[in-house]
């Protein structure tokens, strides 16, 4: 039971982590990217359509990612070139993506609402040598599909790029002090575009995982606002990769728990489904209290802007 819970928590958190890594890069570059869901849904759709057409998972994932990157490019274009506010452009892109995928689902795949097919290949579960033989841990860590491992590997990679590389330094400076970056001769717009496109890449992986890895089908709006949850995790952790992943994992664990509780408690499903959200708010409050202690006593008055 516990191993199963942990196994499932890892799986549930996977799309959140992918999306959060994407959103985190734009956050670090000073952009509030609310369109994660939009990128994801497009990728989910493209991935399944391409997998159906070609039978190749590799091409499908690549295609899904490419389409998500196109959406990201659209957002970047409108935000940076046409100077639309990122928030409204993000909202618009998201709903555009929902509508577009629904239209295309009918237009291309001839289905209304849901598409699935038996010809679409599956990602096989991967048994990790050695680890799989460790008693409990083995059952938790081994046996996931490829993209799950990719997601968790992305976290150190993102952290490494942000904190160790030239590019990461520039991204962070652009986010913290755009004028400093500008004066240092950094092409701020280019950095912003890059993070936005990368955001598309990660959300593309999230979407492809949703439609090809998690399940093997596409449904309208199937991201079910996972992008917003990822966004909350990013803000919660102030854009730091490891804490962000941790918050996503916390949410995933709470969800896994709420899925398993009905049989044990007989409580109303609505109340059980509250758990992940309530847990997140409580965690937020605990962290907030810890930060606020001391500061309020002597500190200067603070009212941070986002």
């Amino acid at each position: 039971m516990d191993a199963d819970l942990a196994f499932s928590a890892i799986r549930i958190s996977t799309p959140l982590i992918f999306a959060a890594m994407g959103g985190l890069l734009t956050y670090q570059a000073g952009m509030l990217n609310i369109a994660l869901d939009g990128f994801m849904i497009v990728a989910a759709f493209a991935a399944i359509a391409i997998a159906y057409a070609t039978g190749s998972l590799t091409i499908a994932v690549a295609g899904g990612v490419a389409c998500a990157v196109v959406m990201a490019g659209l957002l970047a274009l409108f935000n940076l070139r046409f100077r639309a506010h990122i928030f409204i452009a993000g909202v618009a892109v998201t709903f555009l993506a929902y509508g577009l995928t629904a239209l295309l689902l009918r237009g291309i795949l001839g289905e209304e609402g849901v598409f699935s097919s038996n010809t679409i290949p599956n990602f096989p579960p991967i048994a990790i040598p050695f680890i799989k033989d460790i008693p409990v841990l083995g059952r938790v860590l081994s046996g996931h599909t490829l993209l799950v491992y990719v997601a968790y590997l992305c976290v150190p990679v993102v952290a490494w790029s942000l904190y160790r590389t030239r590019w990461g330094l520039r991204v962070r400076v652009v986010g913290e002090a755009e004028d400093a970056a500008l004066a240092a001769g950094i092409r701020v717009e280019r950095i912003k575009v890059q993070t936005m496109l990368l955001s598309g890449v990660f959300c593309g992986l999230a979407g492809a995982y949703l439609s090809l890895g998690y399940v093997s089908l596409f449904a309208n709006k199937m991201t079910n606002e996972r992008g917003l949850i990822a966004l909350a995790a990013i803000f919660f952790a102030k854009g730091r990769p490891y804490p962000t992943a941790l918050v996503a994992l916390l949410f995933g664990t709470a969800t896994a728990l709420s899925v398993r509780l009905p049989q044990m408690t007989g409580a109303a499903p609505q109340l059980l489904q509250l758990i992940p959200y309530v847990v997140t708010v409580l965690a937020l409050i605990v962290v907030g209290l810890r930060n606020a202690r001391g500061r309020n006593r002597h500190g200067a008055w603070k009212f941070d802007v986002t």
Partner: protein, 325 residues
Amino acid sequence: KLRVAMITSESGLGDRSFNDMMVEGMKRAEKDFDAEYVVVQPRAVSEFQSAIARAAAQGFDIIVGSSFDMIKPMQEVAKAFPDQKFGLVDVGPDPLGPNIVSTVTKDWEGSFLVGWIAAKTTKTGKIGFVGGKDIPIIHRFFVGYYYGAKMANPATEVFESYSGTFTDPAAGKEYTLALINQGSDINFAVAGATSAGVIDAAKETKTFAIGVDSNQNYMAPGNVLTSMVKRVDNQAYDMVKSVSDGTFKGGEVKYYGLAEDGVAAAMDDNNKGLIADAVLADVDTLKAKILSGEIVVPNYFDLTPGQKEMGTPPMATPPSVANAK
């Protein structure tokens, strides 16, 4: 040409449930009766009345809707347009008005059947149910399923869960895997697009899912035990037909149960051999008993709290029944 307007419920097309099924019926009717149809998808219950009224003003030959929440709006509009014909699919037994026909689908009978099959087929003695939202219509499926299983084998454990969404296959899969982890090896999915995730989970774990509404056996041949088909398409088709051949009779309430082929456990090549022949044979006798009235399958809406309609020995009341009304 016959012009038909179909108003979907707020969940709209793509629900893999009555909205999609009705469209299937419309498609057939279009061919058979030289009709043409349009689909209007309101986004919210509050938009039903305006959609129906504006359709009435456009002078369609018949306006067909679904969903309990459309009863009042349709009655309002029907009063204002006494010459307009209306049809409402899958609602209650009460006549709705002089120019409205309505239908009742006895999906509880079908659910009873698949529950019975599931209990006879399970190897673990545990079966599950994954509903979409925690709403009465879905409970109606559960109650039928529950009693079917208990009738087949009172020792069967029946897990009940609701994913809270009709549009998230990943959540459906998660809920199903949780049930499977508790030993359930057959799970009945009544959750719109979320059902797809239930079937996906069955495929992955080599257990069984039971589809709903349309015949979903094809979605994972070998892992969908059967589907509890609910022929809403026939109901819509028949409504158009009645207008076409002049048999439309306002105020009529038609039943679509086992007797009328309104519901059934779907059997086709995709699930051939999954159900033991002996069980299949029993299904036929069971059906006959239901048709003859020897067995009365309880309709969730008729239950009162704590009511034990049938079966011996007395069985526990499922929570959703206990909470009813």
